[in-house]
């Protein structure tokens, strides 16, 4: 080895010692986030999984007692909870279905550039920017049978109009209506960006191919928007299963249990009465598994659409 290479090696070594390696820098940046994630997300996730196998109440002062699958067995064999699941499914179907139709229709209308279409689009988006609790309280006033404007508008001034939120027949629909009012704009927004991305030449080609407007809609517009529409539906379905704040603002799950969606019921079990933390954890895990499986179905379908496109 010559003198010069020796020297070069020494220099290199010195550099090695003094410089922080890329790896260290990476770790330094990631570490704080990791710590926070572990403390706030990962730990509670596993702790609640553990709690779901125990008998435990946060206010009882007794330590969690391991009972295996007892909580899960109880929940899955409770007819009431099955009823709430069915109710939530119905709510999701109605509300996501209506949001999809209305949101898509609004997107089709706003898509045409006319005077003030930008302003109108912004206006339409306002509901989804509001706090859900505020929206719930606000609509509760609108529905109010004595001073709410809805019955007046429907030509049924008090005392003739129905009390929408107190009527078990109408209450779920009242919640659906508010959810649709609030979230159709979200579907519209996604559809609109999908629609705007469809190149004009496809419609020119279709016109040349003598396709009617209807045929163009089914064969070009809809399939082109489908991937984004599916994403909107996926998001809204997940949200529907978690629907809580609007219901709390409107009905609190009533009248009776006419609007007792699973998230509302979960809240009742976890934070009211006996504070059944163990059962609530198990319940939350069941909801989580349902949401994940529904999402999976959607995503599989979405990928299929994408693969075709």
């Amino acid at each position: 080895m010559t003198a010069t290479t020796l020297q070069a090696e020494k220099v290199a070594q010195r550099h090695h010692v003094r410089r922080i390696s890329d790896k260290t820098i990476q770790t330094a940046f990631i570490l704080p986030t990791m710590v926070l994630l572990i403390l706030w997300n990962i730990f509670p996730l596993f702790y609640s999984l553990y709690l779901s196998f125990t008998e435990y109440s946060v206010i009882a002062g007794a330590p969690p007692k391991w009972i295996g699958f007892e909580n899960y067995r109880n929940i899955l064999s409770s007819p009431l909870i099955w009823k709430y699941f069915a109710l939530t499914g119905r709510f999701a179907l109605l509300s996501v279905g209506l949001q999809t139709i209305i949101g898509f229709a609004m997107a089709m209308i706003v898509r045409a550039k006319f005077r003030g279409s930008g302003f109108i689009t912004t206006l339409i988006l306002i509901p989804m920017m509001l706090s859900p609790v505020v929206v719930g309280k606000f609509w509760a006033m609108i529905y109010n049978p004595t001073f709410g404007p809805l019955n007046y508008l429907l030509g049924m001034p008090p005392p003739r109009g129905p009390d929408w939120l107190a009527n078990p027949q109408f209450a779920l629909w009242a919640v659906v209506l508010v959810d649709v009012w609030m979230w159709s704009p979200f579907v519209m927004l996604l559809c609109l960006s999908g629609l705007k991305a469809i190149p004009e030449y496809l419609y020119e080609a279709a016109a040349i191919d003598r396709a009617s407007a209807w045929f163009q809609f089914w064969r070009i517009t809809l399939p082109q928007v489908a991937p984004l529409l599916m994403i909107a539906i996926l998001f809204r379905t997940i949200e529907a299963f978690k629907q809580f704040d609007v219901v709390m603002g409107l009905t609190g799950g009533g009248p009776g249990d006419a609007t007792e969606l699973v998230a509302v019921n979960l809240y009742r079990i976890a934070f009211l009465g006996r504070f059944d933390t163990g059962i609530a954890s198990a319940f939350a895990y069941i909801v989580l598994i349902i949401i994940i499986s529904i999402s999976n179905l959607y995503i599989r379908y979405l990928n299929q659409l994408r693969g075709e496109a």
Binding site: Y201, L202, E204, A205, A206, A207, I208, D209, R210, A211, S212, F215, R219, I220, P223, Q224, E308, A309
Partner: protein, 364 residues
């Protein structure tokens, strides 16, 4: 098959004329090429015929029927777009049968037609792929198939080979020509490639600056350009053009050259030219370098073209260059003085004021 007539058809975008009032008749079964530089209004003309663009004046007739204000779908015309415009979310098969389904052609009839076309264009193996995974040439075939399967009254093609590379262009060109001969369908074809225009067109419509410059078969636009624009634009290189002064049967050219005008041209020249200013034009292959040629020049440059050589000659000053085509084994050193003759059948004359070609009595 249909006749297409344009009567004073024009298109303005705001104040700008994309197409100035234009008259053109395309006969049934004819292959007409719209040729011109970028921005001259070729696409706009084609889109007006198809109905994708509304005219701002004039009338369009299809087989005598006024279709000026009919929607594209009511005109029975197929359009092949420059970038194919295939439906990206459908398979090749669905793309091709889309126009048939749109018109509710019965299922077995549709299947029969699709399989005929697919066989003709040799794309059977692509039917279940999506356009995104096809090569340019295959996309073009699919676009052609989608147009052909309809059996429309006329085909409009907007630079259908523009997006392909040179090799493929040539073979697809032959394919389009073959399809036209097989189907004998009225076709209007847009291109800015003159070789393509020459190879394909029964007639060529040369356009420039939103106007028709000349309509004629390939030989006519090549040998008998109607004006200086066509003379320069057609051919590569274009026609040789030298300014001179005409008097008593002789054109005085730069470099003290005197060109004796053929007998048949003398009367029209004397009649048309007020002050004797004239531009003389001839194609590179209409000149011959000979020892006793009438015109003197010197070799300015020469390039090999494979099948032939092109000798650039300077007449007097270096701004007066003419190109002469010679056999490929003939070469000259630079600055060699040479003499050449112009074939009397190949010579043309232009009025520098109007830029129009002068005509011999009658046919030209």
């Amino acid at each position: 098959m249909a006749t297409i007539e344009l009567r004073q058809v024009e298109k303005k975008f705001g104040q700008l004329h994309a197409v100035k009032p234009m008259d053109l008749t395309i006969h049934s079964g004819e292959f007409v090429v719209l040729l011109g530089p970028s921005g001259c209004g070729k696409t706009t003309t084609l889109r007006m015929i198809s109905g994708l663009e509304a005219v701002t004046g004039g009338h369009i007739y299809l087989d005598g029927r006024d279709v000026t204000w009919l929607h594209p779908s009511e005109r029975d015309i197929a359009f092949v777009f420059q970038f194919f415009a295939l439906y990206p979310h459908m398979t090749v098969l669905d793309n091709i049968r889309f126009p048939l389904q749109a018109q509710r052609v019965p299922r077995d009839e549709a299947e029969k037609r699709v399989s005929e076309i697919v066989k003709m264009l040799q794309i059977e193996h692509l039917l279940h792929l999506r356009p995104g995974s096809l090569s340019g040439g295959d996309r073009q075939r699919v676009a052609l198939a989608r147009a052909l399967v309809r059996r429309p009254a006329a085909f409009l093609m907007d630079e259908p080979l523009g997006a392909l590379d040179a090799d493929l262009r040539e073979s697809m060109r032959a394919e389009i020509k073959r399809l036209h001969i097989a189907n004998n369908a009225t076709t209007v074809y847009v291109t800015h490639d003159q070789l393509e225009a020459m190879a394909l067109g029964d007639r060529i419509v040369v356009m420039s600056a939103a106007e028709i410059q000349q309509v004629g078969n390939p030989a006519e636009v090549y040998y008998k350009p109607a004006n200086l624009f066509v003379a320069r634009f057609i051919g590569s290189p274009g026609m040789n053009l030298i300014s001179g002064r005409y008097a008593d049967g002789v054109v005085y050219l730069p470099g003290d050259n005197r060109y004796t005008v053929p007998e048949s041209w003398r009367a029209p020249l004397a009649q048309a030219l007020k002050d004797g200013e004239v531009i003389i034009g001839f194609r590179p292959e209409s000149a011959r370098i000979t020892e006793d040629g009438a015109l003197a020049a010197r070799v300015y440059a020469s390039d090999m073209h494979g099948a032939f050589n092109m000798i650039h000659l300077a007449l007097g000053e270096e701004s007066n260059i003419v190109n002469v085509r010679v056999d490929r084994w003939i070469t000259y050193a630079l600055d060699t003085p040479v003499r050449f003759d112009i074939d009397p059948e190949g010579v043309r004359f232009f009025d520098p004021r109007s830029e129009k070609a002068l005509r011999r009595g009658g046919a030209q």
